[in-house]
């Protein structure tokens, strides 16, 4: 048997160990990307094999956050796909503005790049005071970083350009301080953001949401887990609520696609039909 097939077996055993020892279920993750992440984790750990990694994980609880962090959703960038953020302002914000208070759920928020982007646009639209934003991730480590609001400065130029293309009204540097190779986002931006852990593979409805953003997360899941997550979103949204996915993600294959209407002219933005109110 060739090494690569043996490693596939080791990865299955790692997934089983995570489940039995820590109740962390990665069995629904898409195999090719998951394997590459395990390999990257292995390289970073300096251990000799996936089996060695599994052994360490079984006996050393303090290793878990690192493992979960490296196996889960990767970092994003601020205002990634600026046209999507622009569409949120023009298509979704007017609906949100009709509510006295509204909830937004960003599922899989990683280091917070997109949730702070959204917060900035809400401030500029005069809607921030009415918003409660739930930013969740499976990785406690990622959430710690997101809470800090500190991002690497080397990306700042790209972020500024994205912000401009997203229709930002000022300059992005109005919202951060640069220091020591990092940018620190304005603390006022997180006043209405609640950061919390949530596992899309096993946890239930997190909140009643008017807008759910979950971008570039479903591509890491097998079809079965994708179905579960879309159902979870359907059950979490208010009637007429919006769901924004990554630009290469679609509900086309989902059993629940009938419950949603695509928003015309905007890639991967959906609206829950009125016949399918959430809980």
């Amino acid at each position: 048997m060739r090494d690569s097939k043996i490693q596939d077996i080791e990865i299955e055993l790692l997934v089983r160990a995570l489940q039995l020892r820590y109740d962390h279920d990665f069995s629904g993750y898409a195999p090719a990307s998951f394997k590459r992440r395990v390999q990257a984790l292995l390289m970073h750990s300096g251990l000799s094999s996936v089996s060695a990694l599994t052994e360490k994980l079984l006996h050393d609880e303090s290793f878990l956050p690192e493992v979960v962090g490296r196996l889960s959703v990767p970092v994003s960038e601020m205002f990634r796909d600026p046209e999507v953020f622009k569409a949120l302002v023009t298509e979704v914000f007017p609906v949100l503005a009709s509510y006295p208070h509204f909830n937004i759920w960003q599922a899989g928020c990683a280091h917070g790049e997109e949730v702070y982007s959204l917060a900035i646009l809400l401030v500029e639209a005069g809607l921030y005071g009415r918003a409660r934003i739930y930013a969740t991730d499976i990785s406690a480590k990622a959430l710690d970083i997101a809470r800090e609001g500190i991002l690497p400065a080397r990306e700042a130029r790209q972020y500024s350009e994205n912000y401009r293309r997203a229709g930002g009204r000022h300059t992005l540097s109005d919202y951060f301080h640069a220091r020591y190779g990092h940018i620190k986002l304005d603390d006022a931006l997180k006043r209405n953001i609640v950061f919390d852990t949530h596992n899309l593979a096993t946890d239930g409805v997190f909140c009643e949401a008017h807008l759910i953003l979950c971008r570039n997360v479903l591509i890491y899941f097998r079809p079965g887990l994708q179905q579960r997550v879309v159902r979870l979103f359907r059950d979490s949204l208010v009637r007429g609520g919006f769901l924004g996915l990554g630009t290469k993600e679609t509900l086309a294959f989902s059993e629940d696609s009938q419950s949603f209407e695509p928003v015309a002219g905007v890639t991967s933005l959906y609206r829950l039909g009125s016949g399918h109110a959430g809980t």
Binding site: A32, R36, P74, I219, Y220, K248
Partner: protein
């Protein structure tokens, strides 16, 4: 369900100068070319536009690859801009936004390595013009797992760094100009006219 035992797949890496090279490579394939191709072209902001351009001149249908679709025979797929394109063992495409590899996303190394793991000796890896080193490690993996390695002749390539890097690290079963690469692919697939 694993990829069929005798399933074949051509993976192609192209960077600077790649659009012209792809036009000529695809243009040289037989209309009966039976295998699927998966292509990484770097620095293409508009991959669906490039797919349309290539489709207008190629004997094969050319599409942007999307996540989760089954790979069809006789279709050329382009990696979407900004996403790594991967091959699952069951013969489906998968996308990711994981970190850049060789400073690029999509990366040919990622495509080639996952293709080799899924299709083994059924893979043909082709490295074309470009000015970085992406594709070299991937081509090495293709060869390790029994696949065929073809590299554009650096003398002909608009940018020779990428084919040279592939040759230095992985070597190749054949080093050919574009016309020769197309001919070889047709021969391998048993559809040379």
């Amino acid at each position: 369900m694993p990829a069929p035992e005798h399933a074949r797949l051509v993976v192609v890496a192209a960077s600077a100068g790649g659009v012209q090279a792809l036009r000529r490579l695809l243009g040289g394939l037989s209309v009966r070319f039976p295998w699927p191709l998966a292509i990484v072209q770097h620095l293409s902001e508009d991959s669906s536009g490039l797919a349309r351009l290539l489709a207008s001149e190629s004997p094969l249908p050319v599409r942007e690859a999307s996540h989760g679709i089954a790979i069809e025979p006789g279709v050329a797929y382009l990696a979407p801009a900004g996403y790594h394109l991967m091959i699952e063992q069951d013969g489906h495409f998968a996308l990711s936004v994981d970190e850049k590899v060789c400073y690029v996303r999509p990366s040919a190394d990622v495509l080639f390595e996952t293709a080799a793991e899924a299709y083994g000796l059924g893979v043909v890896g082709v490295v074309l013009t470009g000015s970085n080193e992406d594709g070299a490690q991937g081509l090495q993996r293709v060869r390790e797992l029994g696949g065929l390695a073809l590299v554009q002749d650096p003398v002909e390539a608009e940018e020779r760094a990428m084919p040279e890097a592939a040759l230095a690290l992985a070597g190749a079963d054949a080093v050919l100009p574009l016309a020769g690469l197309a001919r070889r692919l047709n021969e391998e697939a048993g559809c040379s006219s």
